[in-house]
């Protein structure tokens, strides 16, 4: 399964994602520079975290106009797997591939550290290696991760089982204390209705090896790999 990692000026988790795909998942992976105009030959695309274009104007607002994003959108329209992590999630929102918007954390501070997450669905190419309602641990690191959408969008997200991850406490309660940024309904990650585009604020690539404190993250990438293999059969 061939992964492509989109690199914008200011991306800074590109090498981390590369490392996980290459060394942990042991799959072929390549960087795709933002001025490129093709994503041909890739089976999945990763839009990594960072500060694309310095987060000027608004997080992700400039990146969406990069030439490569047109290709990413077409790739997604054809059903290709696209995962946006942190700043990648923000770019997916700005480009309209996912509904809603991102606000500054309600603390008005950057937040870094591990959080508990509830896997709200195992019915997706990104979460099939988890079980529904399983509680996992992943790190966050963002200043603007306060997910917002209107109520109609939220009920759609719920109705169509598009919420992938929510922030919760160690017992699985999705309460305000466990919400690190003020996200609506404790949302940490969502999918599009077609279930081939995922955006998430936590960093699965950071918890892909036991040495670094956890391995829950690698199962996101493993899910993608498994889906791909079965799709090929």
């Amino acid at each position: 399964m061939r992964f492509g990692i989109i690199v914008f000026p200011g991306s800074n988790c590109d090498a981390d994602c590369y490392h996980v795909v290459d060394k942990v998942l042991e799959q072929p992976v390549e960087y795709i520079w933002h001025k490129g105009n093709s994503v041909k030959g890739f089976d999945a695309l990763i839009i990594p975290g960072g500060f694309s274009y310095g987060d000027y104007l608004r997080t992700g607002a400039i990146a969406r106009f990069s030439p490569i994003m047109q290709e990413v959108m077409e790739f997604a329209d054809k059903g290709g797997l696209v995962i946006g992590i942190c700043n990648g999630f923000q770019i997916l929102l700005e480009s309209g591939l996912l509904p809603g918007a991102m606000l500054r954390n309600d603390s008005l501070q950057f937040r870094c550290g591990p959080v508990n997450l509830k896997v709200r669905t195992d019915n997706s190419a990104f979460t099939r290696c988890f079980t529904r309602n399983e509680i996992i641990k992943l790190p966050i690191a963002h200043g603007e991760g306060n997910y917002y959408c209107d109520d109609a969008t939220l009920s759609d997200l719920i109705e169509f089982d598009q919420i992938a991850f929510t922030y919760c406490d160690k017992d699985g309660e999705e309460n305000p204390e466990a919400n690190p940024n003020g996200s609506k309904a404790n949302i940490a990650g969502i999918m599009n209705r077609e279930r081939n585009v995922l955006g998430m604020m936590p960093h699965p690539e950071r918890f892909a090896e036991e040495l670094l404190g956890g391995q829950d993250g690698v199962r996101v990438f493993a899910s993608m790999l498994q889906s791909f293999k079965e799709g090929c059969r």
Binding site: G10, G54, R111, R206
Partner: protein
């Protein structure tokens, strides 16, 4: 009212101006005078500190590059090296905390990638007044946000640090930032411009009017007028720095540069002069070719601007086109602003007009050096003669422990480090707060790199010589507690006005102490920075604060040890000589309101034995946790390990002799508490005996309480949850 002379306005003395006249053989014009003033400032010229700095050991088999370059370099095997340095941004942060701290990070990061290394970790050492004052809270939150926003955007993890609060820093906070980079030894770049005719390229941000005379500002005491110095504080753009970082590392990878030098303090003047000086050459640059941010800038302003995120590049022959291609890819402009000459002069052109002409060596090597007057301050005798045995042991150890854990200097710094991305780059094995030092893996190897910053400035005030030794010993001990061998030091020497004999004495003593410890521990000083004139508005110097940044190497990173208790029934072993000294302790200051007393004895040779033991224990994998004893003493050390592991401990100090408050809260050095499986105890004892380090079993891990007894008397018995709530909540509460 006397009018100040132009050179005095720029920070030069009358004698120094006479020296300039002698060198030039004429009166310098404004551009030339400005160039002398910044290059001969304390910040750039080290004119008061240079004679003292010569006392540091700077060599060793591990040293690839000692002081004199942008950063020091040490060998870590496999053809790899660490490049590291610490630097202050105190005065800018006192005026404009967010930008002051942010540009401090930017500056030190540039020093590292200028050497061709990829920055892999940031650390910082911060000192503020007390949090009950609104201005201190403003400075503290601004500095932390500035460090975080800049480093987070760059994608370099901030992995360790220290924060202390003391009234002496009220008007003059200390903001020291350290950066560590990783490089293949074959890729190390140095700042040299030697081939005559070779062009000088300027790349990165455009030059503006910000930061003019920043280096001069950094070399004077803060005063009521300092607010007017706000324009001398630079403004940072981490996105530009990220582009510059990636582009420069690409140049190095393709071997396109003959020399590279970032623009920091004293801007273009310093970086051009340093590059030319090292190559033994002259230079000619045209200020009209320097891309500007603002119209109408004079040659003086262009030469002295400290606009951030700029780099000077001397290309290899035939490499200009490829260099421009790479910078173009990253959206950066590289402009040729001049070339190297053979006449040894720094010639500043404005088009066809010569705007200034100064001998290069006059700027870089003829800076006056001052052997200042040194005198022992009067308070030292009082400290020495203070009778600590008169201090009563008042009991109430439960209450004291709670109070110590709630001190902002000792409490959890989570409020700080949760604002720093400490995991980006996916190398951070031990994150902030979990161990005595941060541990990073080196991808593609089994190695680990360990880093720490340390200084107990109260110790350095009471006895600068011992305090200097203790700072080095504590740094080394912190690395060894994680299992790493200490390799080398960078330091940031923060002191008051060196023209005061008492301050100069503090500097001299502290440096002597650090040098002695560094020699014994085989940790040479390979880079550093000096920040002087740190004083309150009343003219009182800050506590002497020689911050030690240290790097170490773990042969096998999977063997690293953190401070958390892990297994019920594990045995607790106190490693090192038992101590009951209370001199200079937090306990003495907090409970008895006195900051005095003879410091506990420190012997670097004894420290060295403890470090050898810790390394041997780690090599065998015999420990489950290890934590050194420092501020707050044994009781706080145990409490922290309990909190981190969410596991209690029962300790019996009956076997130890001394005053009880001292046993619990004394801060004698060269000690650590380790937990180990009872089955390993014999081995631990055997190794300790071999290394000549006392090892006393003092208790067991288990339960949900921390309990300390002595001869059937319960000294401390506390619920873990309450200890944790105090320790974790103290700073958060003060800041909300």
């Amino acid at each position: 009212m006397t009018t100040r002379k132009p050179w005095q306005e720029m920070g030069l003395t009358d004698q120094e101006y006479d020296q300039v006249l002698a060198i030039m053989g004429r009166e310098p014009n404004q551009v030339e005078l400005g160039m002398f003033a910044v290059m001969w400032s304390e910040h750039c010229g080290y004119k008061s500190s240079r004679p003292l700095l010569r006392q540091f050991p700077t060599e060793g088999p591990q040293v690839i590059q000692g002081p004199g370059e942008n950063a020091g370099v040490v060998d870590i095997g496999d053809g790899q090296a660490l490049v590291f340095k610490i630097e202050s941004h105190n005065h800018p942060s006192a005026i404009e905390p967010y930008q002051g701290a942010a540009t401090g990070v930017g500056g030190i990061v540039r020093d590292i990638f200028t050497m061709g290394a990829r920055p892999i970790a940031m650390l910082n050492s911060l000192r503020f007044g007390t949090l009950d004052e609104e201005r201190t809270r403003y400075l503290f939150s601004g500095v932390v946000a500035g460090i975080g926003d800049y480093g987070n955007c760059l994608g370099i993890p901030t992995v360790a640090g220290e924060v202390y609060f003391h009234p002496s820093y009220r008007d003059n906070p200390l903001v020291n930032a350290m950066c560590v980079g990783l490089v293949n030894t074959s890729d190390i770049a140095r700042a040299v411009a030697s081939d005559v005719g070779r062009p000088l390229m300027l790349v990165g941000a455009r030059t503006g009017r910000d930061g003019i005379h920043g280096a001069t500002f950094a070399s004077e005491e803060l005063s009521e007028e300092s607010e007017a110095r706000r324009p001398a504080v630079q403004v940072g753009d981490p996105f530009m720095e990220k582009l510059l970082l990636e582009a420069c590392l690409e140049l190095i990878k393709e071997n396109l540069v003959a020399g590279m030098q970032d623009l920091g303090a004293a801007g273009l003047t310093s970086s051009v002069a340093e590059s030319a000086s090292k190559g033994g050459r002259g230079v000619e640059i045209d200020v009209l070719k320097v891309p500007r941010r603002e119209a109408g800038m004079t040659p003086y302003e262009v030469m002295l601007s400290e606009s951030q995120e700029r780099m000077l590049v001397v290309p290899r022959e035939g490499a200009i086109n490829r260099i421009q291609e790479i910078f173009g890819k990253w959206g950066l402009d590289a402009t040729i602003i001049g070339h190297i000459t053979d006449d040894g002069l720094f010639r500043v052109m404005e088009g066809e007009r010569v705007a200034g002409e100064v001998p290069v060596k006059a700027l870089t090597e003829m800076c006056p050096v001052y052997h200042r007057e040194s005198r022992e301050p009067e308070y030292i005798a009082e400290v020495r003669n203070y009778d600590l045995s008169r201090v009563p042991d008042t009991g109430d150890y439960n209450g004291i422990l709670q109070s110590l854990l709630g001190l902002h200097s000792l409490a959890s710094k989570e409020w700080v480090y949760r604002q720093y991305d400490h995991q980006v780059m996916t190398n951070t094995v031990l994150v902030p707060g979990n161990a005595d030092a941060a541990v990073l893996r080196v991808k593609g190897t089994s190695k680990g790199v360990t880093v720490t910053v340390d200084c107990n400035s109260r110790f350095c005030y009471l006895d600068p010589y011992k305090g200097g030794m203790m700072a080095v010993c504590e740094g080394a001990r912190n690395l060894a507690c994680t299992g790493a061998r200490p390799l080398a030091i960078t330091n940031c020497l923060n002191f008051g006005n060196p023209e005061k004999p008492e301050v100069y004495w503090q500097m001299d003593q502290a440096i002597k102490g650090m040098a002695e410890a560094a020699r014994v521990l085989n940790t040479p000083v390979v880079s550093g920075n000096v920040s002087l004139y740190n004083e309150t508005r009343g003219g009182e110097a800050v506590l002497p604060t020689p911050v030690i940044g240290m790097v170490g190497l773990l042969p096998d990173v999977s063997q690293r040890v953190d401070m958390a208790f892990k297994v019920e029934g594990d045995v607790l072993v106190l490693l090192g000589e038992n101590r009951d000294d209370i001199g200079g302790s937090e306990y003495l200051a907090l409970v008895h309101g006195i900051e005095t007393g003879v410091l506990p004895d420190i012997d670097p040779a004894q420290e060295s034995r403890l470090i050898d033991l810790l390394l041997a224990l780690n090599e065998g994998g015999w420990l489950h946790s290890c934590h050194d004893i420092s501020e707050g003493g044994l009781a706080v050390c145990l409490a922290e390990s309990c909190i981190k592991g969410d596991m209690g401990a029962s300790v019996d100090l009956t076997g130890l002799s001394g005053r009880l408050d001292g046993l619990l809260f004394g801060e004698g050095p060269s000690r650590a508490v380790a937990s180990t499986n009872p089955a390993n105890l014999e081995m631990v004892r055997k190794l300790a005996a071999e290394k000549g380090v006392p090892a006393a079993v003092i208790g067991r891990v288990g339960g949900k309480r921390l309990k300390l007894e002595h001869a059937d008397r319960v000294l401390i018995d506390q619920d873990l949850y309450e200890l944790a709530a105090t320790w974790q909540g103290a700073i958060r509460c003060a800041m909300s």
